[in-house]
Amino acid sequence: MSGLVIEREALIEAPAEVVWRTITEPDQITRWFADRVDLVVEPGAHGYMGFGEQGGPVVVEVVDRPTRFSFRWNNSGGGEPVAGSSVLVEFTLTPEGDERTRLRVVESGHESLAWADAEKQRYADEHQDGWGPILDRLAALLGKRQPE
């Protein structure tokens, strides 16, 4: 059984290059995602995305203009988003003719947060320490309603 993977796609009446700019340029990202975006689109670059009072670090993974772009985030004020403790967002752009692009997004890694939570749970069972910051992060993910 696979983990929690969210896959969505849209067919856009614009060339891949235009879609690419929309999903990668900070002043464009603020129009569909975060309120505040501090990001350099280079593999391994560390940036920041803010959502109102909340926000957190973002790490760019793959940059393959204009077909693949991915980054890790966890929507918290917590530590660096690394594999195993963050959510990975992967965009794939597939040109369909000159003026149409299929944009696919895959969001994964929710279960890796939960695996970390299993560790937390063991700790909590022993120490009656309740639910920790990992769950706060999940709550932030779940509870967030982005303005359009």
Binding site: M1, A10, E13, A14, V18, W32, Q121, L135, L142
Partner: protein, 116 residues
């Protein structure tokens, strides 16, 4: 539903092993920990821990029958979990809609400038 309850629900269903246990309970209706342990690739002890988390999240309930404890799924709560996951997907639908509008508008403006 409180935020704390949301937390527990989400983390309970996010774990693949726990979803396997949930699946078995949905399929079987009611089952003991031993019965479940025979059908999963992890230990009886792990099954017990998963059952504790699932019960705490309100996804399952238990009743005693003789010396056995039987577990069953709380359907309403499972529905909530499903809806929570659907909401994550819906967020991306809204974001993709916004991306689509922005890109199409930008493209149309460029074409107009060129007088195409």
């Amino acid at each position: 539903m409180t935020e704390q309850a949301d937390d527990e629900l989400w983390s309970a269903v996010a774990d693949p092993s726990r979803r396997r246990v949930l699946d078995l309970l949905v399929g079987n209706g009611e089952a003991s920990a031993s019965w479940l342990a025979e059908r999963v690739p992890f230990s009886r002890q792990a099954v017990s821990k998963h059952l504790v988390v699932l019960e705490r999240a309100g996804l399952i309930s238990r009743r005693k029958q003789g010396r056995e404890v039987l577990y069953q799924v709380e359907a309403d709560r499972l529905d909530e979990a499903t809806r929570a996951m659907a909401e994550l997907a819906a967020q991306w639908d809204r974001r993709l809609d916004a991306i689509k509008r922005l890109a199409e508008t930008a493209h149309a403006e460029t074409k107009n400038k060129r007088g195409i």
